[in-house]
């Protein structure tokens, strides 16, 4: 019985290893906030699975109905493992559209000016940002 269990465990391990081996190219991008160069980048999966409780990255949008119409404000924010963090905002229609393209597994990069306004928002959703843990 014991031997059977060992064989079964070995079989499962081999099966998992083989799954990982055929899971495709991986390129995780851990979150990094560069306050000197005013840029931040990282993928959502790496942030969510970071071995700490501080890392995050993402973009969002607020559309608020006011007496003068809908006011839209977009934002991107990130904090890395070193606890460097930044939040930028935007009211630019093009950048607002970019914030709306983020997905659950997106790589996000953004930059900002001295006023904290976003000057660049990049979003990319690629299979290689999915971790082995998720593919299994």
């Amino acid at each position: 019985m014991k031997l059977k269990s060992k064989i079964l465990a070995a079989g499962v391990a081999v099966a998992l290893m083989s799954t990982a081996a055929i899971a495709g190219y991986k390129q995780p991008a851990p979150v990094d906030v560069d306050l000197v160069n005013r840029t931040a980048l990282g993928d959502m999966v790496s942030a969510q699975q970071a071995k700490d409780e501080v890392t995050y990255i993402g973009c969002g949008i607020r559309k608020i109905q006011t007496g003068a119409g809908v006011a839209s404000t977009g934002f991107c924010q990130a904090r890395d493992a070193d606890e460097e963090q930044f939040t930028c905002f935007t009211q630019d229609p093009e950048l607002l559209a970019a914030t709306a393209t983020t997905g659950d597994f997106s790589f996000i990069t953004f930059a900002w000016n001295e006023d904290g306004e976003c000057t660049y928002i990049g979003v990319s959703t690629q299979s290689f940002y999915l971790t082995e843990k998720m593919v299994k």
Binding site: I64, T73, Q77, G116
Partner: protein
């Protein structure tokens, strides 16, 4: 040998006839070119008068256009032109701005703006004193900021962003 002289005379005669015919053709070509030019000039002179002649004919058959008729025609023409411009405008506005130039600019009450700014300042002070700002409080602040005119809104967002980034306000957008 005795045929040579009459043959050459006949050839000379033929050449002379051919030459005369060529001259005649040349003269006719010149005449045709002249007449085409004349026709072109006539058409050019006649075309500016064509519309008034037609208009006069139409008006005489209808018993004459009144000033009101003319105003109505002009109004229709202006509306058609305005319609064409209106159709082209949204494409431009979508590329440059979120607000359409066709729509009147929103009017902000200056007194209300001052009151809203004051309320935002008080709210930000309150949030500064909190250890962690709950999302609902951040949302409430953002809703107040959204009520401001664009430039004041931008200024308030800059202040809020700086407060968040410096850690004075411990909340998320």
């Amino acid at each position: 040998m005795k045929w040579l002289v009459p043959l050459s005379a006949f050839q000379t005669l033929l050449l002379v006839m051919l030459g005369l015919h060529a001259i005649k053709l040349d003269m006719r070509t010149d005449q045709l070119v002249d007449s085409v030019d004349t026709l072109n000039r006539d058409i050019q002179q006649a075309s500016p008068d064509t519309a008034p002649i037609q208009w006069a004919a139409a008006s005489s058959s209808d018993g004459g256009l009144t000033a009101d008729d003319i105003r109505m025609i002009m109004r229709e023409e202006y509306q058609a032109i305005a319609g064409e411009e209106g159709a082209a405008t949204p494409v431009r506005s979508a590329a440059t701005s979120s607000s359409s130039p066709q729509q009147p600019a929103p009017v902000y009450d200056q007194r209300q703006t001052v009151l809203t700014q004051s309320a935002i300042d008080q709210e930000m002070e309150r949030l500064r004193s909190m250890n962690v700002v709950p999302p609902a409080d951040m949302m409430s602040l953002q809703a107040k900021i959204a009520e401001l005119p664009p430039e004041a809104r931008r200024a308030a967002l800059i202040r809020l962003t700086k407060a968040i980034n410096s850690g004075e306000i411990k909340g998320q957008f």
